[in-house]
Amino acid sequence: MKLGHVLQSSLRENVKLDGFRFDELKRAARFWVGKEAGSYNKENCIAALTRVMNGDDAARRVQAALSEKERQVLAIFTRYGPTVSGGLLTAEIYARGLAETPPKHEGSGGYYSAYHEWRRNDVVRGLCEKLVLAGNSYDSYYSSSYTHSYPRLTLHPALLKAVAPAAPLSWSASSVCDEAVGTGCRSSAEVVLDLWRVAAALRGMGTWPTVKGDSPSKATRARMRKEVGLRDAEKDPLSPPDPESLFYELLHGMGLMNFGDKSQWIREEALERHLQQPPAMQAWHWVRAWLHLPLWQDGIGVVPERDSDYASVRIEPGKLHLARELLSWALCGVAHTSNRWLDLEAFLRDLWQATQEASIDFYWGSFAWNPEFEMARKKEQYPAGEKRTLAFWFACEAVWAANAIMVTLVTLGLVERGHTADKKIRPCFRLTELGRIVFGAPEVEAAPKPADARFLTVQPNLEVVAYLESADARQIFTLTRFAAGASPASGPVQTFALGRASLYGALESGMTLDEVRAFLTKHGKTELPANVDRMLSEWAGRRESLVLRTKVALALGAAETRTRGRTLNSNAFLLPSLTVKIAAKEFGGWTILDHEDKLERTWTTDELGSLTTNGGHSISRLRLARIADRMATGWQITQQSIGRARISGMTADQILGWLGENLTAEVPGLLEVAVRNGTSRQGIELSQVQLLRITQAQAKEALLYSAAFRPLLAGHIPPEWFLIRDDHLSELRGLLERLGFTIADSLNPPPLRAVQNPTKDSPAAILRIRSDPERRRGP
């Protein structure tokens, strides 16, 4: 699979001719159509341009009319385009010498005329006027008014094949290092493993709390940190800050997440497709996603999806995108030169020089790793001018670039870092083989690698030691399908564990035992231990011996009606799946039960669980037999029958669920209580008590707060009932008589009125009954 250029853009802009002024259209028509267009009016210009631009020989016509310089500009577009961003176009135009350096404003009187001369000679501007290149007018205005950078432009689609793509530019380094020490880089397999672990942690969550921009919330980040635990900047400044979030954002950027109302936000199939691509293709997608990451920033970590005019909370995403693009452009040049170690500071100075007109320009104060560049340390000592500007650039933007190269791109396996071997230790770097392929595409291609690299050792204790440097990213992904990571770790040697659950997961996802065995044998440095082989067979065998078949059709009836099916017993057959429509046609006179549909409701019950059924199917009868006792007149739910169901593993909710599905009316409240009592009994108390009723408010209050009465009372039932201690009844009577009360010898409470059962345990409903004014007042 051939990679495209890592900065290539397939974006297309539509040229709307009616949006141009007449003089602009006329100039373009003269170029596309010929001199005769000089006499056209606006409508004729539009009609002629439309005809010619869509004609078959548009490319031939235009090619002949282009100058050599213009053809070279078009070649940039056929290399990166059809659309090329302003920053990239500017860097390319100057690097290829297709434009003069703009005149500097030094207060001299000749500046404006020099500037206008420079504009007039600008080859890109000329191509825009001819409508060979087109862009968004908003971009064009701001780019031309304030900087010397070009706006984002698109090559006219008719000319895409008119010019061959430009040859790659090589990087002209001002300083290279002969050798480097303390070097370090990561294999693509290590990166894939990190990406996979973050994806696996997220898959385990299904969905997770996010903040604006679908970025992980603090709690999600903490959980990812706990479950994945990658090495971060807090432990090592040359590790990325919030590394799990870097991989989260890469997954997001590559479109491997789907935020919505689904229960799983990781797009499993898309992730699998990505992980099975060749390593260079995977890395190419990582870089493409990294270019656009707004919510994870190099050397900073996770940033919020907002900006503030008063306090910087992140690098402005548009500026960061431009900076990443220009850095990548420079690394593309590096990929096309000999693979020497580059002094980081010298490389960044070269980058600044090469991109001055496009400008990596933003402000941020603190990065996880600060290389303390020499120029930055002395920045205040420089007088106003280019050197001072560069020194300040080294104190900010260059520190970001250093973090991007030496941390982010190292983490992604694209850059190898080290430091110079001389006395003055300075950081240096070079592209890894993977980095050269990604940044050197399409010219630099991956050399074919043997598919049977022996990179693992299976140990008798069921552990698999994997040497990631020798492994292909795809092979590591295959290994993770049937072996679990033994512990959160990173590094070139990692341990995995073969287990029943992990093998089961692989078999359920479509791998076979033979494929697992073949993989371990093919990539094993040693033979597969016999006991491991036996365990794998045993685990796979256990899976084969227990099969859960879903969505099957079952015929329970006379055998002769079956045309095709598997016999389970003389009266039960497993059939190929059927639609309800076909079933109704082929099985006339049969009761058809769709297990995914609602069952016919045939049960009726009273609140004491006396249950009758009107006909019904086998499911109904089987369920009844599980939760009720057969009686002469029907069925009865009893504490014994509920107890029996409970012993067979049923819960109260499951029993009530069956009642709810089969009863023609709602489950009576009392029956629900009985069912719940059958599975966990509620304690209640019952005994005889002496009651005193006082309805007169003042007397009731006086009694309630009286010190003389308190020892005689056992309780108060608001608003008017008092419980009397049995052994103090006569004493209470005497006291009441002494206080002048007339005591009636019997209580005649009114009969309890019928009360409608409120919606199940609704607090609002209960409150309604309690506050019923008639009940409060009494008869």
Partner: protein
């Protein structure tokens, strides 16, 4: 009748409908040996989702609980092969 059959009969009666019935989108649990079915049927975590026996090695899952059955099997340490629509 073997001991296993007796246990099975007491735990999971054989499904014998009154008239011919066709069950669509049903879920069944299939094992290699009757003893394995008996072992599953005595486990309340599994039994709660089983309705009846279709043979000595096949049981009918309560409608609407195929996923619960799968989870229950996994939670109980079993590793069922899950097939959808496959009948052979």
């Amino acid at each position: 009748m073997t001991v296993t059959n007796e246990i099975l009969d007491s735990l999971l009666p054989l499904l014998e409908p009154d008239g011919p019935e066709l069950h669509l989108n049903a879920a069944i649990l299939e094992v290699a040996e009757p003893a394995q079915l008996a072992e599953l049927a005595v486990d309340p975590r599994i039994r709660r989702y089983l309705l009846a026996r279709l043979s000595d090695t096949v049981a009918l899952v309560d409608p609407g609980h195929a996923r619960d059955m799968e989870s229950a099997l996994l939670n109980a340490g079993h590793t069922p092969k899950v097939l959808t629509g496959d009948w052979e």
